[in-house]
Symmetry: D4
Subunit: 151 residues, 8 copies
């Protein structure tokens, strides 16, 4: 069985690359999917549908186009990893966490100790809290293992 | 991952061909499914089950046979594109939109600006409104991309 | 048990009044709910949220405000009656039918014989097709009866 | 029919009071529910279950006790209003929005224009965006009205 | 709490009356609902919608009108009792049993020992098999009791 | 796309063979699954779990073992064909129909005209009624076709 | 709003009475339901359906009759409290916990510190772990409160 | 079709190996999955996320990491086999049974006759009770067979 893991949240550091590289170096049967992580492209996702004067509607159209992708990939995934960094509001990451929680989709949060308190509701519905990508890789290795009498 | 896209609605123009050709020329990992688009064949779908004097029952039988196909394909799809042209009532297309909305299945509408107002409820539940097949292809290209750190 | 019936569709004739009056005159245990049927008010439902230059966005905002009401009432109802008249596109009525179908919510269509063919998909998923409000009232009387050994 | 509306988010301004007062002054058939909005009490919700040295576990226990309430009330509600203020991370509000979105529960966002961009994913799944509590009250008045032929 | 019990199946003996009388004489907090049990009325349920020459379509229309009632009542019930007598095909009763099974709705079968074998699939998904209405009443009395420390 | 079709009901005639042969001769992309159709083996399915003196419990155990198979295969199928012959009670076939109906799984009934009336509830929830296996094959051919602009 | 709380598990101590008395003395808007807690009556719940020589079948029949009650009450409840004592296997309590977890129904466990390790999977899916009934009452008081700006 | 079978419960005997070997020797189209069955590894599953002084929290973190695996695999499986041995509390096995029951996932229990009574609720919701792994293999062989006219 191959697992599908959705990587949600922060797009300004290389945490995705670290997790993917770590998983691949261990040969884990895990595929990764993500939102579009090119910030400018993501903001412009709806521009092909016509320009908007109001920023609200430009954002609205782009967010919905992005949601076609993110909603579908989250629902297909077996597990999500949701990363909160130290910048920006990152409400989309918390939104994804709530979405997972309501679907009963397990997720792992990845964030520093300094933001434990504001993330308490998000962490309360998570299956694990990790501080480093390497910890996530170890969890993945354990979860997808076929050790013991399992085959 | 290969995406499955359902193409619902108008059967009297080549919008399906344009989308499929555009997607194929870009090599997108997308498969397309549709209702039976041969009008006469669709109207006669239930005739094999015996003739009917009343047109209501002939239509009823054919529509249910068609629904075996359409309901199944919509439910299996990741996304629907729903096309409204300038002729006919096209209530079946609006019915498909409502069906998608209730299932939480994302859909894109494809129609001219001239029918924005009567389609407002249908558009309100859509993820995007496009006027041209080429726009749909661009959205598909974006949505199914594996760019960024995604792989 | 009191039944809740949603009356969807045409807003330019008095079919709702006829059904409600007929049901009330029989003392049936049925409550009726509807979308807002004041056309101008419905089109302006989102105006309180700020003006829009583009008609698409005015319609979009109003349709979503209306959908808070219609989606909630449809989901709470036990049965819908969906009326198609002889004017306008009425795609919202077909959308409601598709929404009901996907939810497994039973509905009755109410329309003239002249539009059987374009409504064939909508009728195929309906529990009954009536041509007159009085027929709907008779169906309601039968459906909600407590006759026989039932009490 | 009485509507149940969940008021999620910011606890440091009187937006809840404004909406409730506005609704009550109009005599709307709406009941309101909320998370516990006493900040200190909310943080201490799990203390009765025993002290914790690590703040993570204190938060964890309190968040789960709070979630018994919030999850239940959200699921019972017909509509949520989700408020984002100008202070704090407010990830719990975005989490509630994602939770509503996955359940298909309609919600209205309430926030200033200045945070449109970071809230674009949250707004994209909302049924309306309001800037002032008074707008929310107007929307409620419209949505729960029994005008037209509805009774 | 009041329980709602659906009484499905045979309409040619007084088993419903026995169960209802037994439950009422014990003052149990149970309401009972049933399909329309007047055979002729049930067969004619769709006649108001217009005559049919083919018996298939007359049956079809009446069955769907009946299904508005039966499907709704089964889904609202807490428990079903499904009675198989010694006459007729009674496929509708077995259909109701399958419907309950798929919904996870508990049901009790009520039938003679002589038809154990052909009912084995229906009994396999039931919560109990009774031979006499009085046994059903005893089960109801037990199930809805508030004895012990329950209140 | 390959379709999975469940063949439910009568085990004493060769209707399954006819449908499968017809479908295969046309090269349709359809796989077929069925309950175990060896009558004696089916009745003995639970015997490995220990003998029973009472026929009720032998039947009970065997029916549950069979249900592991039938329930799983029905749920995985895209479509069911449910055959009623002229012998036996066949309540299990009607049970399967009700199970499909509650799941929203489309099914086709296959039976003679002589049993239209007792099967009216079962037919009312079906997508088609056929009298001959060859008709079912024609319906399958139509439903799974990729004609028109579909590919 | 009145909350419904299901009290599952141990029947040989007075923990239910303590919680109910505590809640009532505070005037909390909480109703409590439970399985039948009379051990002998529970074991004999199916006896009215006929005697069994094998203890397996007597247990089987009684357990299913009990399940009509417990399954229904758990599904209707807003919250469960699941008590593990120091005697017996109590697999039914763990079964109820798993049932709640799969439904997304919140539950609180109530047990001594000495059995933390064998209950770790049950506690991992719980919203809270309490050691004393008084703690459960405090949690209930907090959860159902209407304090703050909530009304 | 290949079946996926989840093997839950006891980890101190070789019942899993027996079932897998028996199935493989018959060439059955069955894949097996299990929780991590290395007791020490399972207890330490969360240790990578940081040490805990309180055993409750160490257990809590490990159980949740394990649940990512077990919950996902149970939900993907077609059938579960749940083994109760003669040692330990085994509440996790009963929890898995309740989880399966609420999902409508069929399961077979595997245990000695000596624990029939405490397992009566767990057995009541099972599709079969076996005493020996060889019986489970025979059931699997029957359930996944393609005999009769099935192919």
């Amino acid at each position: 069985m191959t697992w599908l893991v959705y990587l949600s949240g922060e797009i300004h550091s290389d945490w995705r690359e670290q997790i993917i590289a770590g998983s691949n170096s261990l040969g884990l049967p895990v595929n990764f999917v993500s939102p579009v992580t090119d910030h400018a492209a993501s903001d412009a996702a709806g521009d092909v549908l016509g320009g908007e004067e109001k920023s609200f509607w430009r954002d609205h159209k782009s967010s919905k186009v992005n949601a076609i992708r993110t909603k579908t990939l989250i629902e297909k995934s077996d597990l999500a990893v949701i990363r909160f960094g130290d910048k920006y509001k990152q409400w989309n990451a918390a939104f994804d966490a709530g979405y997972c929680a309501a679907l009963g989709k397990p997720y792992i949060t990845l964030h520093d100790e300094s933001i434990i308190h504001p993330l308490k509701e998000v962490d309360a519905a998570a299956m694990a809290w990790a501080e480093e990508p390497a910890q996530v890789v170890e969890i993945l290795q354990y979860v997808v293992s076929s050790g013991g009498s399992d085959r």
